[in-house]
Amino acid sequence: MKKVFLLICCLVIGAAPGFTAGEVSTFHAYVDSDVCARLMLGPLTASRMECSKKTYKDGADPVLVRLKDNTVFSVNKEKMVKDHVGNLVAVTGEAKEKAGTIKLQTVMADDASSIPKGDPSRRLLDVTAFKSPASAQTFEKVRHELAMMPYLTDFDFISFTMVDTAIILTGWTVRDTNRDDAFYRAKGVEGVSQVVNNIEILPLGTNDMQIRADARLKLQRTHSTYFWSNGSDIKIVVKNGNIIVLGMVRTQEDADTATIQLNSVSMAFHVFNLLRVVPPTDKKKG
């Protein structure tokens, strides 16, 4: 009887890894924060690295972005990647693409020079390759199309990046229709070859709804010049109790007071202030 029991145990133990394990792979990745990964997929710019470090410091979770295809993975052991936020790493682990998770085995600091020329992972590193005059024109058309989406609210922020002639849509929306509308608008622009839609639809939980309403009310009182009837310069994204504030303000003081106001919203856990400060003179030049 004991022998039979032991045999069953051996079979179960032996079979378990083969049954549950994902495929172990090694790849080059960028360690991002979950906030910036949702916002800025695509070329690794200085502003993106700054965003990764800042939001991680403010409490966002670290995630891995596989360089060759921009796939975002949440990790099982944050300790293994936390010191590499804003940098490149070479990782080995069991990656499950559909679930967007990876069970890490090893994480090593990496350098762009270690990635062979011609490797798809290099595409996101050379930012200048994506900025031809033709792509600038296409970029502007896509930007305009997305700006004019009728159902965007103060609680949506849709962003995009261009990789060659492909558009990667990112950001958050409270409406299904915006996700589809953004896709079709971007796809309809001449010169766009492919659209990857990574826009996340936000849940409409009672707490998040209350946080949205309170956050907007507070900012409408203190930052009224940035809100008008058909839109606003400031966008308030709320997800699972966290507030991400985006958009443009004219002074650093306005950005800082926005954080203070939003920190006083009841039931909100974290405030990630990603407001860009654009003084009026700079705005005119732009």
């Binding site: 800025m40 009728p150 609210t153 849709i158 409409l204 709804m209 058909n230």
Partner: protein, 259 residues
């Protein structure tokens, strides 16, 4: 021992009172949550049904293909753009002034209102996700079908065996739709409309699940079209034009594209 007994007695009585209160309170609350609107009648000589509290600020719609009379609040802090979720209320029915209310059965009213409520939810849901209860940033859509009349008798052979026929069909040939969007928390009106489009000419609702019966296809199409017009009204109210369009365009800068 005596003290313990008294304490137990007091706790027992207190529990009984709490249970009784809960039962009484629960019973008294339940009907309020599950109110089913019954059929009402358009007052004689009146242009409107009285479903909307105020008709005075309705203006003719500049779009001739849209809802006939509309109102859209345009205050900076409280307009349609301030909301993005919706509670779709059960649809109310107003029968024509000269219609015989006794011939409108509860089953036929339900068949008509359930279908239209479902059609409305379908029409608006991707723009205004439907939610179950009132809350912040949530609109309440109140709608009434106005001018329903009693139709002819439904013959037994007119419907398939799985669609229970009504004794009298409901005629929606001269029906209009009145609707308003209110703040679900405060009840303040945000938008309203009265639609006179005669989409159901000759259409009747004569059985449960009428939408699946070919004979009543015209009614299904009419309800779908009315729901579509409510959505079109919302779409047009969200269009960005003129100086606002310039400002919206300038304000939008995606992230992650600067070096």
């Amino acid at each position: 021992m005596f003290n313990s007994y008294r304490v137990l007695l007091i706790i027992g009585r207190f529990s009984l009172v709490v249970v009784l209160l809960a039962v009484v309170f629960g019973c008294s609350q339940k009907p309020a949550e599950t109110t089913t609107p019954s059929v009402k009648k358009i007052p004689a000589g009146s242009e409107y049904s009285g479903f909307l509290k105020d008709y005075s600020n309705l203006k003719p719609n500049p779009n001739p293909d849209g809802i006939s009379m509309v109102y859209v609040r345009d205050e900076a802090q409280k307009n349609l753009r301030s909301y993005f979720a919706i509670v779709v209320d059960p649809v109310e029915v107003y029968i024509a002034t000269d219609a015989d209310a006794s011939k409108v059965s509860e089953d036929s009213r339900k068949a008509l209102t359930n279908y239209f409520q479902h059609a409305l939810i379908q029409a608006v849901s991707d723009a205004f996700p439907p939610v179950d209860h009132a809350g912040p940033l949530t609109l309440r859509l109140r709608t009434a079908i106005v001018g329903v009349d009693v139709g002819g008798q439904v013959a037994a052979g007119d419907t398939p065996s799985d669609a229970k026929p009504f004794q009298h069909a409901l005629n929606i040939g001269k029906v209009g739709v009145e609707m308003e969007l209110v703040d679900s928390v405060t009840g303040e009106r945000i938008a309203a409309g009265v639609d006179r489009a005669n989409l159901g000419d000759g259409a009747e609702v004569g059985a449960e699940h009428f939408s699946k019966v070919e004979k009543f296809a015209a009614a299904r199409i009419a309800f779908d079209d009315w729901a579509g017009r409510v959505r079109a009204f919302l779409d047009s109210a969200h269009e960005i034009t003129g100086a606002d369009a310039d400002r919206v365009d300038k304000a939008y800068q995606p992230y992650g594209n600067d070096k």
